[in-house]
């Protein structure tokens, strides 16, 4: 790019050659996507490598090769192998899935609400999902209609999905009017729903026994710990499918940013898009919450970083958010489990500590620029 400019010696005036400009921008976008993929790979290697038992990238790859039936080329220990395969790797996969799902759900919801502040946590969706999950945890044994017999590993994600769906729908109905979404109403509705769901969770804490209390605690603070391949297998499709399905909604989401009427005029089925976004976001957030509890601000911070670096086009924003969200959550989890050794910091606390000030900074920036 800089080579072109210096070769012609004169910088073209703005608007002179939009085609060349588009090409340059396309090149930059591809570069940024490749860089993000690189960051994700590095994050995975760091995430599986760092801890009480250190595993170098070469050893990690060698162990995986050994699992695939190839000859391993490093002399790693059995302990390293066990730690990688049954602790670090499922945890890293969970981090990728949850981070990617939360970030894509955040980006899609921001498109739906035409507002960049619509984070699943802020508008109450995560809390709604957590409430439904808490009901299952505390009252699980006493559920009617034979639901108690259904495996908890399946029931938990389903309940969280239902809770997420109900709150997303409710928030949308409250905040959207005549095709416009009031940001103040949106955030206030989120505050109200968070308060109500929080109170209900408080009641559940109050009535729960010791075991349920321990389980609940894990929820409210969020953690990637304690995941097994079995639980991952059930929840993975529930997170991956909506995140990937959301990618095809990029064009209608772009159009929706102009307003619902304008999107209809441009030839999009707006009602269908809205329903799909609500269901997909609830599914992604609900199943994430079911496995890891409430991890806030990922859906807010990640799409913002992408918009600032690559731009707001959902065709790039959604896949880039998927990769960056996965990377950031892996790195946050790495911090969470290494900062206060031998204890482990709940990751939800960590993302809130980073995300809260970021959110405030956004508000202040918005005041100055009137622009996202």
């Amino acid at each position: 790019m800089s080579g072109e400019v210096s070769a012609t010696a004169t910088v073209p005036a703005p608007g002179q050659d939009p085609a060349a400009w588009m090409r340059r921008r396309g090149g930059r976008t591809r570069l940024a996507l490749v860089a993000m993929a690189g960051v994700l790979i590095v994050s995975v290697l760091l995430s599986v490598g760092i801890g009480a038992v250190a595993i170098s990238p070469a050893e990690a790859l060698s162990i995986l090769a050994g699992q695939a039936g190839l000859a391993p080329w490093t002399d790693h220990t059995r302990v390293q192998e066990t730690v990688l395969l049954s602790l670090r790797l499922p945890r890293a996969v969970l981090g990728i899935l949850v981070g990617g799902a939360l970030a894509v759900a955040g980006a899609a919801m921001q498109g739906l609400f035409r507002n960049p502040l619509a984070d699943p946590g802020l508008v109450g969706v995560s809390t709604g999902a957590a409430l439904a999950a808490a009901v299952v945890i505390v009252l699980g044994g006493a559920l009617p209609l034979g639901l108690a017999g259904v495996g908890r590993d399946l029931l938990l994600p389903l309940a969280a999905f239902g809770g997420g769906l109900a709150t997303t729908w409710l928030v949308y109905r409250i905040a959207s009017h005549d095709g416009r979404t009031e940001v103040a109403t949106l955030l206030l509705a989120g505050i109200a729903l968070n308060a109500v769901a929080g109170a209900a969770i408080g009641v559940l804490v109050f009535v729960s026994d010791d075991q349920a209390l321990r389980d609940l605690n894990f929820w409210l603070l969020g953690s990637l710990g304690g995941v097994t391949w079995d639980r991952l297998l059930i929840a993975a499709p529930l997170m991956l499918a909506p995140a990937l399905a959301a990618l095809v909604l990029a064009r209608p989401l772009n159009a929706l940013l102009f307003g619902e009427t304008e999107a209809v005029h441009m030839g999009f089925d707006v009602e269908r898009t809205k329903r799909l976004v609500v269901v997909l976001a609830a599914l992604a957030v609900g199943s994430s919450v079911a496995l890891t509890g409430v991890i806030g601000f990922v859906g807010l911070v990640v799409p913002h970083l992408v918009r600032m670096t690559i731009g707001p086009d959902h065709r790039v924003l959604l896949p880039a958010s998927l990769m960056l969200g996965a990377s950031l959550l892996l790195l946050a989890d790495l911090l969470a489990r290494t900062l206060v050794l031998p204890a482990e910091l709940p990751i939800g606390i960590l993302t809130s500590v980073i995300g809260g000030p970021f959110f405030l900074w956004l508000l202040l920036r918005r005041r100055g620029l009137g622009l996202w």
Partner: protein, 264 residues
């Protein structure tokens, strides 16, 4: 081409539209005028298909709007909104390219880009192509939006954007926020499209501006059609005084001979 018959819209017990019948023929520029709250925008929304009337029906090329596949309709009918709120930092060129959405799969990216550039050029906004849309002034945004809706119904019959495909363009107060030069530039462009076969319906506030470019004038008041006909027949002292409650005298434009209202 686009025809609404007996359209009635009721909101909170008020009849915003009351049995309005209006056809937008091809190759014409119809100006829709009337006082605030007369139902002009409502009528435009109903004709565009964004609003379903309580009674009456809108047909495009003798086919009810609801029967049209969305993308097929979007390639033949575009709507310029009164104002467009967009708080994400898209570039003006991205905004115009979004108008090509309904052409996805039928048109190459290069062709879409060529159309977008041609549309921006037509509205004198090519210099804005790389600017961030939310940072543009109201008038600049309006021109970029006009380029977007033009790109949407741009026909592939030939490079000039004209052709035999029946097309309709609905403009909701398009001259809002525009300075004097760009008001006339926009209207001249709308006139040009009409001459090329597009059926144009424009909600306008300034009857004098409308008279310069429109070949037909429709007056709406209290949700009812008050007058419909050639500009000369509609822009009379009696009609304007009755509808707007403003006593006027009608003069002639010194060079074009079109009617020109002067308040007395």
């Amino acid at each position: 081409m686009l025809a609404g018959s007996d359209l009635t819209v009721i909101r909170r017990g008020r009849r915003l539209l009351d049995g309005v019948t209006l056809a937008v023929p091809g190759a014409s520029l119809t100006a829709l005028i009337g006082p605030n709250g007369a139902g002009k925008s409502t009528l435009l929304h109903v004709l565009s298909g964004a609003l379903t009337p309580e009674a009456g029906q809108v047909r495009f090329l003798d086919r009810p709007l609801g029967d049209w596949p969305r993308a097929d309709l979007a390639r033949r009918r575009a709507v310029l909104p009164q104002s467009s709120t967009l708080s994400f930092p898209f570039r003006a060129l991205d905004v115009v390219l979004m108008g090509r959405s309904a052409h996805a799969g039928r048109s190459s990216h290069d062709h879409d880009l060529a159309v977008a550039v041609a549309a921006l050029t037509a509205v004198d906004a090519l210099a804005l192509a790389e600017r961030i849309y939310p940072t543009l002034s109201g008038g600049e945004r309006q021109r970029v939006q006009l380029a977007r809706v033009m790109a949407q119904i741009w026909t592939d019959d030939d490079g000039e954007g004209q052709g035999r495909t029946p097309r309709v363009l609905l403009l909701d107060e398009p001259t809002n926020n525009l300075d004097l030069l760009h008001q006339h530039q926009l209207m001249r462009f709308a006139r040009h499209l009409a001459d090329q076969g597009v059926g144009v319906l424009a909600v306008l506030h300034d009857p004098n501006l409308a008279a310069l470019y429109a070949d037909r004038m429709v007056v709406l008041a209290d949700g009812r059609m008050v007058a419909d006909g050639p500009v000369d027949a509609v822009m009379t002292e009696a009609v304007i005084a009755r509808v707007f409650g403003l006593p006027v005298t009608v003069q002639r434009h010194p060079t074009r001979g079109t009617p020109h209202l002067v308040p007395v």
